[in-house]
């Protein structure tokens, strides 16, 4: 019994670790899409900033500087997306796709040029990266039956970015629903004309939104390469940007629901890793591929309207043009 409980807690712990980049990217997606700009470039921004963070950390050994550069790179990509979609009213999906393709190729090319390790960056050690923070008394409390392990395994031992991600959910939720900025942001994604006729610049609002999305994706990227991992590996985002997008849709473009969706997807991921090759009674060998496919299957079912109803912002994907 004790062992099973610990197994469960370790799975929850892993869930948090896996879900962190999803949460950050889902919040990024919410900012962008609530303003009316589709952002499928979460993936590319995350990949590019993961590479940037790992490179800077490898060269300078400064994780905080690496995080800053990662954010800068991601924001730059956001601005390109904004320039194409907001200023020039281009197709938002095409622009996002272009960024993803660019990131996929450029990271490997630059990686080989910089470090000559087949597209990887050098292995980071010690304080070159964000290490887990052990909360006070974690070891002392570990032995308290039942509750002790929760504190020691699930709550303690995460790096700073995990906490930033959770904080981001709270902040996103408050900004969206309780501030003037949030009111305008939501309005601009629903009915930009209403914002324009109220004397506010639609263009400026949308740029602000994609900028924030850039910052959050940058943090997510840095998490992958210098907090969760210890260096950049080619294609290390492995579709997490798209899963975050799915989680955002699953959460109906709302921060808290998106958090739950991210945790659920993270949990499925963590479970899949643990049941690999496991024989269960009646079912037989569990296919981890099937579990990994679940997020996508669930999202498709959700979008088809079988569970609840997805209601995207009304003006999403539509470039704003003043009508004649």
């Amino acid at each position: 019994m004790e062992g099973l409980w610990l197994q469960f807690l370790l799975t929850i712990d892993a869930t948090l670790r896996v879900a962190t980049p999803l949460i950050l990217c889902a919040m990024a997606g919410i900012f962008s899409e609530r303003s009316g700009i589709i952002d499928i470039s979460l993936e590319g921004k995350m990949l590019m900033s993961a590479f940037a963070a790992a490179s800077v950390a490898a060269v300078t050994g400064q994780p905080w500087l690496a995080l800053l550069v990662a954010i800068g790179v991601s924001v730059f990509l956001s601005l390109i997306h904004g320039f194409a979609c907001i200023t020039h009213r281009g197709n938002q999906v095409v622009s996002g796709l272009a960024i993803n393709i660019l990131a996929s190729g450029l990271t490997v090319t630059l990686g080989i040029a910089f470090f000559a390790q087949g597209g990887q960056t050098p292995f980071l050690k010690g304080d070159q990266r964000f290490s887990p923070i052990t909360l006070p008394f974690a070891d002392t409390l570990r032995d308290i039956p039942f509750l002790g392990p929760i504190y020691a395994e699930v709550i303690s031992g995460h790096n700073i970015i995990v906490w930033i991600a959770l904080l981001a959910v709270v902040v996103t939720s408050l900004v969206m629903m309780r501030t003037r900025f949030g009111l305008r942001l939501r309005a601009v994604g629903e009915k930009p004309e209403a914002v324009d006729t109220a004397g506010i610049s639609v263009v400026l609002m949308r740029y602000q939104a994609v900028l924030i999305a850039g910052v959050l994706c940058g943090i997510a990227g840095a998490y992958l390469s210098i907090a969760h991992g210890a260096g950049f590996v080619r294609e290390m985002t492995a579709g997490k940007g798209y899963i975050a997008l799915a989680a955002m849709i699953f959460g109906n473009w709302r921060p808290l629901q998106a958090l739950y969706a991210c945790l659920m997807f993270g949990f499925l991921d963590a479970v899949a890793a643990r049941v690999q090759g496991l024989e269960l009674p009646l079912i037989g060998e569990v296919s981890s591929d099937l579990i990994l496919a679940l997020p996508y299957v669930l999202t498709v079912i959700f979008l088809a309207g079988f569970i609840g109803r997805a209601t995207p912002p009304a003006s999403i994907g539509v470039p704003y043009v003043k009508e004649r």
Partner: protein, 520 residues
């Protein structure tokens, strides 16, 4: 709310609330506003009438900072101003209720009203601000008779209430000049009456109202002054009490150069289409067609006259099978179409009916297609184009080249994209496609809109030739002269209803104008 100007302080008559002079605005080749002058007396309800496309909306958009005029001056309350943006206009006390509401459906009434002006009351947080705004708004609502549930979602409100929110929004932002762009288009008659009561209250409280409409009844009912626009120009400024709907209708429609159409009487044949008490109800229960009945005979042109927006578009859509009627039926050669016997446009086409839609760009052709491709749209399954799944070699090109020769379409290049032809030649291409199908019945909407004089004459001759061959033609046009020139009989529409059908010999501009204005 009240702004005392320097002029008032000096004691003379107050300066005009709005004074425009020499306002011009060009979109591409279209001169939407041409040297417009306008003076609006403070505290008056000033109407601007004109047909769709006369430039009314452009003018008020300039006033509200949506566009900037190419030239001209604007003075508000006697002060010469530059309105570069909507924010400028709001600062000057100008509020606008748009034709299509500028409300976020998923927000509450209160959120919609404070959107963009969340700092007005100086609340610390958004919640504070909302609480402070609620107080002021309930005062405003009471003062102007604009009661509405502030916490309701806008999506749940009726159109009339949404409009109330729009008015409240402008007042909250400090407007003392209120522009309403076609405010009654979406309202039921009852809601319209309520709106007029509100406007009267606003006038009483000293608010200046600029009312944009194409409905003469409204102008006569509520305005103090009226200005008439036509073709981007301001053609008259009148005092409402001293004018009449007939005079306004004549000014709006205007007189065009008479075109030689060589009209002659012809023998009428049998009845091909009978419309029996057709009604159509739009979104939110607004009646669009109110019991239209007529019959259409082979070898005649039945003209449908009316100021645009009085149900003509809807009538064409119902007859051509695009929209099923709400009640009533259409009998085409024995085949009945009604609410319970719906027909697709293709069914109707197979009954021998062809349709030249009013808006050729939206419905008549696909602009990025080549002329040859647009020339077969809707007829692509015709045997003449080959009965295999492939179009025969050069079949489309040859087919189009024939049409181009027959209808004198220039340049005669079937491969040229539709959007590269002039308006007149685009129209001739659509006419050629529909007429060459040799229909028994032809519906034609605005055949000469945006078409040059030479092409107009050609189109008139073709329509008369079709009639002489025994085709039954229903001609919808807002050009009264066109109707009078071409029609054997004229049906006049007003507010979705037929005002009567007049024979050619009894139809003159005077009597038709009265019917168009809804007087008779």
């Amino acid at each position: 709310m009240t702004k005392t100007t320097q002029h008032n302080a000096r004691g003379g008559t107050p300066p005009p609330a709005i004074a425009l002079s020499g306002i011009s605005k060009t979109f591409g080749a279209v001169r939407a506003n041409d040297d417009i002058a306008l003076t609006v007396t403070p505290g008056h309800i000033h109407g601007i009438v004109g047909e769709n496309g006369a430039g009314k909306s452009t003018l008020v958009s300039i006033l509200y900072g949506f566009y900037q005029a190419d030239s001209g001056d604007i003075a508000i309350n006697g002060q010469k101003v530059q309105i570069k943006s909507t924010a400028d206009a709001i600062k000057l006390g100008i509020g606008m209720v748009h034709q299509h509401f500028m409300l976020v459906p998923t927000f509450t009434v209160l959120e919609n009203i404070i959107l963009g002006h969340e700092h007005r009351k100086g609340g610390k947080s958004l919640d504070d601000e909302i609480a402070l705004a609620r107080q002021e708004l309930s005062n405003l609502a009471q003062q102007y008779g604009l009661e509405v549930d502030f916490d309701a979602l806008v999506a749940d409100l009726s159109v009339g209430l949404q409009q109330r929110v729009e008015i409240l929004k402008t007042l909250y932002r400090g407007a003392n000049i209120l522009i309403l762009d076609e405010p009654t288009g979406v309202l039921t008659p009852q809601e319209t009456d309520q709106l007029f009561e509100i406007l009267a209250t606003l006038r009483q409280q000293g608010v200046t109202v600029l009312l944009i409409t194409h409905k003469l009844r409204e102008i006569m009912a509520i305005t103090d002054d009226v200005s008439v626009m036509r073709g981007g120009k301001m053609v008259a400024h009148l005092t409402t009490a001293k004018t009449s709907p007939e005079e306004l209708a004549e000014l709006m429609v205007g007189r065009q150069v008479l075109i030689n159409a060589d009209f002659h009487d012809a023998e009428k044949g049998e009845v091909c289409l009978v419309a029996d008490n057709i009604t159509l109800t739009g979104d939110g229960g607004i009646p669009l067609l109110r019991g239209i009945s007529f019959d259409l005979r082979a070898g005649e042109i039945l003209g449908v006259a009316g100021v645009s927006g009085n149900g003509q578009t809807e009538l064409l859509e119902v007859l051509s099978g695009i929209t099923p009627p709400t009640s009533g039926e259409i009998n085409i050669g024995g085949q009945v179409i009604g609410a319970h016997q719906p027909a697709t446009p293709n069914d109707v086409k197979n009954l021998g009916l062809a349709h030249v839609p009013e808006d050729r760009h939206a419905m008549g052709m696909v602009l990025p297609f080549s002329a040859a491709e647009s020339a077969v749209l809707g007829y692509e399954r015709q045997a003449a184009l080959g009965d295999s799944i492939w179009f025969g070699p050069d079949l489309l090109q040859n087919h189009c080249a024939e049409l181009m020769q027959d209808y004198d379409i220039r340049p005669a290049d079937p491969a040229l994209k539709c959007n590269l032809f002039s308006g007149g030649n685009q129209q001739k291409l659509v006419l050629a496609r529909e007429m060459s199908a040799a229909p028994k019945i032809l519906l034609v909407g605005q055949p000469t809109r945006g078409v040059d004089i030479g092409a107009i004459e050609f189109i008139y001759q073709r329509l008369i030739a079709m009639r002489d061959q025994g085709c039954a033609i229903l001609l919808v046009s807002v050009e009264l002269d066109e109707i009078l020139t071409l029609s054997d009989r004229v049906m006049v529409m007003n507010n979705g209803a037929s005002m009567g059908i007049v024979d050619k010999k009894d139809a003159d501009a005077q009597s038709i104008g009265l019917m168009m204005a809804g007087v008779v």
